[in-house]
Symmetry: C2
Subunit: 392 residues, 2 copies
Amino acid sequence: MVGELYRFITDFGVIEGYIIKEEPNYYLIKLKNGYNIGIKKSQIKEMENLNEKIKVGQFPKRKPKGIGNLGFIYTGGTIGSKVDYLTGGVSAIMDIEELLAIADLPYDIKIIDSPFVKFSEDLNPKDWVEIVKSIERTYKKGAEGIIVAHGTDTMHFSSAYAYYALENPIPIAFTGAQRSSDRASTDAVINLFASSIYANSNIGEVAIVMHETINDDTAIAIRGISARKMHSTRRDAFKSINEEPLARIYYPSGKLEIINKKYRKRSDKEMVAKPYLDTKGALIWVYPGFDPSILEYYRNYRGIIIAGTGMGHTSKELIPMLKELSKDLFIGITTQCIYGITHPYVYSRGRELSKFATYLQGTPEKNYVKLLYVLGKESDLDGIKKEMKRLP
Amino acid sequence: MVGELYRFITDFGVIEGYIIKEEPNYYLIKLKNGYNIGIKKSQIKEMENLNEKIKVGQFPKRKPKGIGNLGFIYTGGTIGSKVDYLTGGVSAIMDIEELLAIADLPYDIKIIDSPFVKFSEDLNPKDWVEIVKSIERTYKKGAEGIIVAHGTDTMHFSSAYAYYALENPIPIAFTGAQRSSDRASTDAVINLFASSIYANSNIGEVAIVMHETINDDTAIAIRGISARKMHSTRRDAFKSINEEPLARIYYPSGKLEIINKKYRKRSDKEMVAKPYLDTKGALIWVYPGFDPSILEYYRNYRGIIIAGTGMGHTSKELIPMLKELSKDLFIGITTQCIYGITHPYVYSRGRELSKFATYLQGTPEKNYVKLLYVLGKESDLDGIKKEMKRLP
Ligand SMILES: N[C@@H](CC(=O)O)C(=O)O
Ligand SMILES: N[C@@H](CC(=O)O)C(=O)O
């Protein structure tokens, strides 16, 4: 039964595919285009065995080429989830083998790790450290490129942390899915495929590798500190903010095309993990009516990132309190526009703020992650300031 | 001198234009393409009078057509600012007449109002009420369409408030500039031009009217509750989130093309201002590491909007506190992805949250503005919930 080709006559049409798994209420089917789909048994009117067999996990592989062993790290998220046919929601969790079987990667993957299995909305900064340790373990077992399967909600926080915490990184591709892997419409197959190409490439950077458009022909590798989830549901949810993506990967050819010429090449040096972290930092988005007295709360913090308006502004009502706080803690200014630079000298408010706050480039989120990393690394305010400015 | 055409041989090239103002250190010049530019006297090597005169304020007007009188409201922002040649920053403030002279609109504008002149980072919700009252005044003086010149940093908050607070609105165009109006590169001229076309149109909605692209040939009218400043410096900073813009306006032809067929037509009924407001609401962006105990601070509030991750999630660590708060105050869920929907039934976290929180569509910012409006209108939690769901 499993591994055989069937024709299903269902309520919603006639479908041909290999059964890759049977559950009490439904079959998981691999279509010939590589997609997997779940069919409820109750929806099947007739099914006909087409007498063609295939061994699961042994779909014809493209010839492995590239530099070597890949590692696979599974942290949870939709990419490792199934549709729950009771609620219609996403929740049942796959095991790694099942996920890898569905992924059908062009390379054999033997080095596997999983620090935890969670939806990414539940991650906290300590989990970022666990991911980096898992990357280190996987590297030490011989991986020369790593795929990290991760929930999309907060993937850009985790990728930014790994970016800062890893020196001389091998190619590391964070990837996920907007539709669970057992759905016909899943984006997991192509995202994992493209991630394996990236992990096997010559780009020595942590990246997010996900669909480039809503089509299924290209994926994009975005520098881990420049990515942001910019859409709640689309396959091309992740965008590269304020700089070009690192590379484009074509499906199914596997061609990788460099876009950002300033990418960092794979280094000959050992990759080293330095997972510094101190969680006494916060990210604060300001807005008209933001109550300055809430800033009181952050007195015992060591740093805050303000997501200001426009080129990096706050209301003048916040100035006294911010100035006061800046004596003991780091204050960084970013823009809630998300796209575009901050600048302290175009408007008078910027000149005022920059007397005690540091203007930073890039997304509020990556600057928050950078702050927690730097707080773990540096002990005094001067060191923190210098490092916050120095790091990208 | 003023009103005459000159050829300037300068450090940076040969320029022809009408002098529209002379300052101690520089001339303000109107180029033939309609742009205004400041030239420092120190940069001028030679200037030649070309014996062509034009009366300032009487540049050939396109023939006024459309429905009637326009009103002009000035609230401040870069659009009403000049480059300060001492600091290189933007700060010197124009008076309305100067701004209108530079704008060179295709219609004569006689109804003018100005509730305050501020940079928009300094506005607070009470200022939104002042803007709506100014709109009402201007309407009562006979305006049949209104242009509101406004800073760009928080324009989308103000436009959203006016959207909720005005019933049967005439066309109202919020507009601004990313470069001050006395610069060659200013976007003010085209933004004001397009706003006047919008104000004279048949669209009975509050909109933001700004450049559509980085070119100077089209502007876009975005529904006041769907706009967001998505870039800190580009002329096409404002984007229409999750729906099509209302209309495109061509420059210099003045053609207005409807894009969103679901626009509301100008109504025969009286426009009525209902500026409800209660500032006991807040907007909170969550992230990995967000400290749940900060939510304590909002106990004495009447409502909060959460900018959640993905389709509208928070970490499970926040659930007990949010649940607790929800007994007394309204909790709305939006997405920090900015683009895309929220949905309570795709993930288990959504199902959990939706038991005590309300899933909302649209940007976190417009939902925050809606909340303050609704809090001013409704007295009990049930009324607030209903109204938050009912309003767009
Ligand atoms: N809420 C899920 C969404 C996803 O994986 O796409 C997560 O971030 O884990
Ligand atoms: N900071 C200015 C920027 C602008 O007007 O473009 C403001 O919002 O008022």
